[in-house]
């Protein structure tokens, strides 16, 4: 089993002819994802890679394909509009890869998406993958292998690092979700943890956090109160100086909130095993799988 996406997921790619969109559309198709259409205003009627129809609007694409998910690769200035358009067309799962969307744009997009019953993953995220079934986004498929571990993370390449260790140790993944590094994101740790908790085949979860905010602390409390599935944690940014933005807009320590130390203590306080280095995650996961 897996969460959010599987072999039946029919995907649209918004911005399929762009530099990133076309590259990753090809990669997703190669991986086995059912890419049923692309959306680029003004390129409706064209065909991508011989067999993926392109539409002018998401609404047209939905009518023609009955897609249930859409992935967004459009530039930051237009990304919020792309999210509105997907939600208005009734796309259930919207995955926004775009990095650099103004935060006030996201404050407006969030209630809009929620009112239309869609789920947004991201923005500024690598997307998600259910190994062997489907991938939506930019996660490298070759490092993943199917198995019982759910992975949820605020990072991109750090997630790859962790998956690489798991796969190298023969531990497969049910679904890996990159929730994104921005201050305002559509799907948070707790949303993913509860999906993993409900998934009978996810037997352990790895949660990868970083400095900034209090999402990890809240997720830790949720793990203790609402989860049977064991969770292993890792926090990046122990050496980050306060008050500085560390690349991710979300990764900034302000005041006493959001230090790595605080988060690691919250994890430990709520019964989550904390890895000191990415490589240590493997042993902790092995122990929790029993």
């Amino acid at each position: 089993m897996s969460v959010l996406i599987d072999g039946t997921t029919k995907l649209l790619v918004q911005g399929i002819t762009g530099r990133d969109g076309s590259f990753h559309a090809r990669q997703m198709i190669e991986y086995g994802t059912q890419v049923v259409g692309g959306v680029v205003p003004g390129k409706g009627g064209q065909v991508f890679e011989g067999d993926v129809p392109i539409f002018d609007t998401v609404a047209e694409a939905m009518d023609a394909t009955g897609a249930d998910a859409s992935v967004i690769y459009v530039p930051p200035a237009f990304a919020a509009d792309a999210i509105y358009e997907a939600a208005d067309a009734g796309v259930l799962l919207i995955v926004a890869i775009t990095e650099g969307i103004p935060v006030l744009d996201m404050t407006r997009a969030m209630p809009f998406v929620a009112e239309r019953g869609s789920r947004l993953v991201g923005p500024n995220c690598p997307g998600l993958i259910s190994p062997g079934k489907s991938k939506v986004g930019i996660l490298p498929g070759q490092i993943c292998t199917p198995g019982p571990v759910g992975v949820v993370s605020r990072s991109g390449t750090l997630t790859y690092e962790v998956i690489h260790h798991l796969t190298g140790a023969g531990i497969g993944q049910s679904t890996c979700i990159g929730i994104g590094g921005d201050p305002i994101i559509g799907t948070n740790f707790i949303d993913c943890l509860s999906l993993f908790e409900e998934d009978p085949e996810t037997r352990a979860v790895v949660m990868i956090g970083e400095i900034g905010g209090t999402d990890e602390q809240e997720a830790a409390a949720f793990v203790e109160s609402d989860m049977e599935t064991p969770v292993v944690g890792f926090i990046a940014g122990q050496t980050a100086p306060p008050g500085r933005r560390m690349g991710h807009a979300g990764a900034i320590i302000s005041g006493s909130e959001g230090t790595a130390k605080e988060k690691m203590e919250a994890f430990e306080g709520h019964g989550i095993a904390v890895a000191r280095r990415p490589a240590d995650i493997v042993d902790l996961v092995r122990q929790s799988l029993g």
């Binding site: 969307i101 006030l104 490092i143 990072s155 390449t157 209090t214 990046a236 790595a260």
Partner: protein, 380 residues
Amino acid sequence: MKIHEYQARKIFRDHGLPVPPERVAGTPAEAEAAARELGGPVVIKAQVHVGGRGKAGGVKLASDPASAREAAGAILGMDIKGLEVGKVLVAPAVDIEHEAYVGIIVDRASQCPVLMVSAAGGVDIEDVARTTPEKIHKAEIDPRYGLLNHQAMGLGFDLYDDLPRVRAAADLFRRLYEAFLASDASLAEVNPLVVTRQGEVLAIDAKMNLDDNALFRHPEFEELRDPASEEPAETMAREKGLSYVKLDGTVGCIVNGAGLAMATMDLIKYYGAEPANFLDIGGSSNPEKVVSAMRIILSDPNVKAILFNIFGGITRCDDVANGIVKALEQLEVDVPIVIRLTGTNEKEALEILRSVNLPATNSMDEVVQKAIELAKGAAR
């Protein structure tokens, strides 16, 4: 992006907030002239991008132009939390009856702008938030409707008892929210918001942080950037599209992705050394970026070894390898380089590196330990 108080005051004033006039001075003589022009007692405030200026001695009262000159002389050139004061603000001193705090931030948890006020204004609002959170009153602003009248009035009543003051404060809150929205700010703050002995509600301070991600639609803000408040290497990194923060250690690191970059710094610490920097080359893998990254790191005299930690995804390992080769040709590299590459086009990358006799590993732990060992042995 942080901007100075005098710049934020102008933005606030443009949106109709009651902000007293000010002058900016770069020398004691200019401060004296400003004080004479404004007339009466003045306050001299250091213009630096950190909080806690008052505690650090960066804010002084001056009763006349001569003492304004003296105060400015003491503050200019002062080091506040590692930043040198290059400019002071000169503003009329006001007779304060009451001080409060007002701020708007984008709140991660409620996912919307939140207006906060506290009657315990003036100094350390973070302390108030930590020790007596009940003294901070908040309103979540639905961005579709803006700050509603009853919210603004409600927070006004949290600060004051009499209606004229409440109305004046509510009006100020609305204008502050307008300034916040129009500027795509991530923070807009007045600390303190004062009531004068004459009963006037005034913003005698202004602080604003602008959303870096929204600067593309505000070309007018580019001139507000103060290069003197940034490490030259950080300016160069920003211009090259790299994300760089200088730290104090000896192991320079070049990594793709912010999370992996932080985890690499942490691992350096784990093995007993200190990272020299945070540097994220980002998702694209233009070889030129790698050359710029190397140039930036080599400009730090503390760096004794450089480590690359690249997990190819969008970033192609061969592009990074080509960048390393280019950097070796173009730059005088006088420290050892250790490389970890894995992922997209790893094989091609290893071949490129082999041609210049650079070994590479695919283990992050290994590369960090190696870099630390070399940094310890190296003299520069």
